[in-house]
């Protein structure tokens, strides 16, 4: 098990002929991901690296091959459309790596997904990886070890940091999901927490949040009511100034809402262990698991 993707998941890359799309398609193939097709308008009929058929679009591809998931590297101006194209064609898990999609485009995408259900991960995210089985994204594969910890995060490199610490302490991972740092995005903490709670392979959960919005607060309340597995949280941005967008479009403190202090306080109030600093996320998970065993 694992959540949403595993060694049997067949994947199509949208934007396979672009610089990033090509590079990461190769990286994912090397990791063991089953990439069965690519799509780039105008390149239909070509072959990627002599083995993967390229089509003009997702509908066109799915006439010839079967795929459940797609990975999107299409540039920002066309990325929202690529998500809707995949959903309409019947793709079930859509991973959008693209950074810089206008928020109003994402508002339309989310409306579209009401009528065309799919699991959307991202945009502006590292993707999803079920360790040692399948990777749909840009994370360095080698830091991941197969195991029982589920990781969900709004950040990229901070997730690598946490995973690295977990692996070093001997805690492998079931699945790691990078939800992305945009204000309007696909799956949220609660969707992923629900999936981890239901996944028999996952025994503990690391949740990495950051300033901006109130997703962390909602997640804390959800965990208190619905998650029985040990959870460790970390929130980045204690020192972030108000009103400044900290790299991610969604990471901004507006007025008094969205502060790290409020999020941390909410987690603690809901009985969730919070890692005091980013260097001890792995250790905090270890302690939480030890406690749960007692």
């Amino acid at each position: 098990m694992a959540i949403w993707v595993d060694e049997n998941t067949r994947v199509l890359t949208q934007g396979i002929t672009g610089r990033n799309g090509a590079f990461h398609t190769r990286q994912c193939l090397a990791y063991g991901t089953k990439i069965v097709a690519g799509a780039t308008p105008g390149k239909g009929g070509e072959t990627f690296d002599g083995k993967i058929p390229v089509f003009d679009g997702v509908h066109q591809a799915l006439k010839e091959v079967e795929a459940e998931a797609s990975m999107i590297f299409v540039p920002a101006p066309a990325a929202a459309d690529a998500i809707m194209e995949a959903a309409d064609a019947g793709i079930k898990v859509i991973v959008c790596i693209t950074e810089g999609i206008p928020v109003l485009d994402m508002v339309r995408v989310k409306r579209f997904l009401v009528d065309h259900p799919a699991i959307l991960i991202g945009p502006n995210c590292p993707g999803i990886i079920s360790a040692e089985r399948s990777k749909l994204g840009i994370m360095p594969g080698y830091i991941h070890k197969r195991g029982t910890i589920g990781v969900v995060s709004r950040s990229g490199t901070l997730t690598y940091e946490a995973v690295y610490q977990l692996s070093a302490l001997g805690f492998g991972q079931s699945t790691c999901v990078g939800m992305g740092g945009d204000p309007v995005h696909g799956v949220g903490f609660i969707d992923v927490l629900k999936a981890f709670q239901d996944d028999p392979e996952t025994e503990g959960i690391v949740l990495i949040g950051e300033i901006g919005g109130s997703d962390e607060e909602a997640a804390a309340a959800f965990i208190k009511e619905n998650v029985t597995k040990p959870v460790v949280a970390f929130v980045a941005g204690r020192t972030a100034p108000a009103g400044k967008r900290m790299g991610h479009a969604g990471a901004i403190i507006m007025g008094s809402s969205g502060t790290a202090a409020h999020k941390i306080e909410t987690f603690e109030r809901c009985g969730i262990r919070v890692a005091e600093n980013p260097a001890v996320i792995g250790e905090a998970m270890k302690r939480a698991l030890d406690e749960a065993k007692r």
Partner: protein
Amino acid sequence: MNIHEYQAKELFKSFGIAVPRGQLVETPQEALAAAKALGTFPVVLKAQVHAGGRGKAGGVKLARSLEEVQELASQILGMKLVTRQTGPKGKIVRKLLVEEGLEIQKELYLASLVDRQKERVVVMASTEGGMEIEEVAKETPEKIFQVHVDPAYGLLGYEAKGLALKLGLGQDLVAQGTKTIQGLFRAMIELDCQMAEINPLIVTKDGKVLALDAKVVFEDNGLFRHSNLQGLLDEFEEDPKELVARKQGINYISVDGNIGCLVNGAGLAMATMDIVKLFGGEPANFLDVGGGASKDQISEAFRLILQDERVKGILVNIFGGILRCDELAKGITEAAKEIELSVPLVVRLEGTNAPEGREILKASGLAIIPAANMADAAKRIVQAVSPA
């Protein structure tokens, strides 16, 4: 991207929103001419800076005669305006909006923005204009009215009319109110705004609905669709280092400390600042070189940090994914050799090609303090910058 009130009002006008007559000036002489042209008194002089709270700080004045216009305009232009949004450094006023004074009957509030929770554009209106909307939300939330717009249909006519009526814009005002609300929503969508706000929206004693103030923030991700709007950026209002960084594709935000931070990824960059603070240091900046930064971008980022004379030490924290640590190490050695490195430099490298990167740094002959992990790195840099 922020713009000035006068620019926002120009844009609003093109969406059918009524605004007071006025003119932008940069000298007291121009202010006099503008007041004469308006041909009415009083006139309002409004400092144009990117910050709220201008009135309380003395940046908005009423002038009842040409003499007063001359006097007040001289006072405001060139003054350092310190509001709760500018910080203690304040902002120098370089532009002034001269507007006709109006007799106000009612002050209302109107705004449009993206509601992250509901993932929709919301149009928000309140009968409590001229106040901080956050205050209204806290004290009297029942006085805020909202419509969450279905993107499949846009803001429907009856929804806009309903909001106007809730604002008390009945009878002969309902048409003006509806038109203003629809105009604001269209501006929000067509200009890719993060927020468009009118506070206050006023009803004058002679029965006109006008935007007395205007605030527009464009969403940076949407700017590629609007090459015409990019010219509205007032570079004087921006932090010069942040401006340089943005042009290089680096996310840089200056804060108040003395430890320069160079990190890849926004979340890790924030977390690095946090851990520096936790160990007793003060970060000088947030800096995210991005996921796939090149050697040149790294050098540029390094230069940016070194140009900050407050910086007494630098912490580099990299978790290589797409960004390879050997590339990073080359960028650092290049920049450090070019600009004489006079402050302690702590480097923590992990991830893709980290051993190669560490080797390059070691071979460079630079006085680099290596760190084993994030906590170790933070401790070392804090120690290095504290007075012995």
